[in-house]
């Protein structure tokens, strides 16, 4: 990999230990992915925030760099483990809370915008076409590449952090080109967001770094997000290109049979004890739509709704949060279904959700059963 004189100097430690480490991460990542050089990026989005994912080692590392490290570009970050406003309702142990707060403080100390959201593309302005960014959250990287005309690889927590500190990323893979060798043909009719989530999950399994996708009907935001979330969960693929692709492209159908395979893999329970909505977190459109769907109805069991803090505040002003709380929803900011410590298998056997991404982590990390339903089915069957 070619480095400029300034980059070489940073790698030698002439600009301090933090810069040396950050460039070491970029060079190691770049060499591993056959990058030819480093290029500037304008926005980094970090993962590795929830204490459940990074543990003591992550907490200690962030604390150790927080004194000297500072971000050089706009930097936002993923959800953490709880909503500080209502954490006392959830019986979390003191150790989790104090370690999570330490992680939060470290990120704030290095200058990260405390967005605690996995949908940066819905709560921040999108830069101009073809801008290079560095997103470590998989659904956000896929959304950025596929719908927002931005360029990013599916970054690791570490490469995104190094990019935040240096303002640079290795020039490789999707930053340079995308020529998928595979096209997926959507063959399932009357799709819901659940269908699109399963389609994404399937695409992530069969795709390499990008895939063509055809046969899609007009999709709403919820469905687009579900597809990105599903894909990010199952593989390394990080971009949809819409259309059939070249004629020599291998074609694979996503039909009822393939859909059933994904459903059977992730749907492990007949019914849930609680409901979660959000993974990815809900945007304002989805909150507004949910409030409308719940008019005159209320949930028969607990329903957790995950949304970014900025959206929650807007929703409060418009009156949606009142509507949702009246219908029995618990609205949570700063956290999400994925890897949440708020759902514990000691108290909960199974969770009903419309999120494929959420389902995967509930099943594999929280160890609870999962009952998949579309939002329409959830409202029909779980409210009165």
């Amino acid at each position: 990999m070619e480095l400029t004189r300034e980059e070489e100097s940073a790698l030698k430690g002439e600009q301090g230990e933090i810069m040396e480490m950050a460039y070491r991460i970029l060079v190691a990542t770049g060499e591993a992915t056959d990058a030819e050089k480093l290029i500037p990026i304008e926005w980094a989005h970090l993962s590795g925030v929830n204490y459940n994912t990074i543990g003591d080692a992550g907490e200690e590392f962030l604390l150790s760099i927080s004194k000297d490290a500072r971000v050089k570009v706009k930097t936002t970050l993923n959800p953490m483990g709880f909503d500080i406003d209502n954490v006392s309702n959830y019986n979390l142990d003191e150790n989790f809370i104090s370690k999570q707060l330490s992680i939060k403080n470290s990120y704030e100390a290095i200058g990260v915008t405390p967005s605690f959201s996995c949908i940066p593309y819905e709560i921040f302005d999108i830069p101009k076409k073809n801008t290079q960014v560095a997103f470590a959250e998989s659904n956000a990287a896929i959304h950025a590449n596929s719908y927002d005309n931005l360029k990013t690889n599916k970054e690791s927590a570490f490469s995104a952090l190094a990019s935040a500190i240096t303002g640079k990323s290795p020039y490789s893979s999707l930053r340079k080109e995308d020529s998928p060798n595979l096209s997926i043909r959507m063959k399932v009719s009357n799709p819901t967001e659940l269908t699109y989530g399963m389609l994404g999950f399937f695409a992530g399994k069969v795709g390499d770094t990008s895939v063509n996708i055809s046969g899609l009907e007009e999709m709403d935001k919820r469905q687009c997000k579900a597809m990105c979330g599903g894909m990010g969960t199952s593989g390394t693929c990080a971009k949809f290109l819409f259309g059939d692709g070249d004629s020599d492209c291998e074609k694979i159908d996503f039909d009822e049979k393939e859909m059933k395979n994904v459903h059977d893999e992730l749907n492990t329970a007949e019914k849930g004890d609680i409901i979660t909505l959000g993974s990815p977190q809900l945007g304002l459109d989805e909150i507004s739509d949910l409030a409308a769907k719940l008019k005159g109805r209320s949930f028969k069991k607990r329903c957790m709704v995950f949304t970014p803090r900025t959206i929650k505040e807007q929703a409060r002003k418009i009156g949606y949060t009142n509507e949702l709380e009246r219908a029995g929803c618990e609205i949570l900011s700063d956290c999400c279904t994925c890897l949440t410590p708020l759902i514990n298998k000691d108290n909960v056997d199974a969770v009903t959700t419309n999120s494929i991404k959420g389902a995967f982590y509930l099943k594999n990390s929280n160890g609870v059963g999962v009952n998949l339903k579309s939002l329409t089915e959830i409202v029909e069957e779980e409210t009165q």
Binding site: M21, T29, E31, T33, G48, S156
Partner: protein
Amino acid sequence: MNKILVQGNIEGVVLKSENPINFLGTVDKKTGIISDKNHDLFGKSIANSILVFPSGVGSSVGAYTIYSIKSNNAAPLAMICKKADLTVATGCALANIPVLIISNNEFDSLVNGMKIKINTKSTSPISIL
């Protein structure tokens, strides 16, 4: 093709495995001992070795484990793999542990107990002592 992921200059004794290593969950953070019963290094510590293995596998959070074992003075002196993976690359970058990627033939020529010198600035970065 050979690659240098993290630079360095060090001498040590080869500890070789034919199995990939999942750093998250199968390497003890305090001692560097491999706890996976199905692994060919089960019960052995990777501390202060030149660890030769095919590649890292598993969650990228395993990079923090590599950082931890280094903080606890239980990390290898260097790692040599056949295949580059981002967990080993970023973990060793965090912890400043040299990492080289070598060919299958070179991999086969390294055996347990061999004393070697790594100098990533040299034209032949690995030499047998």
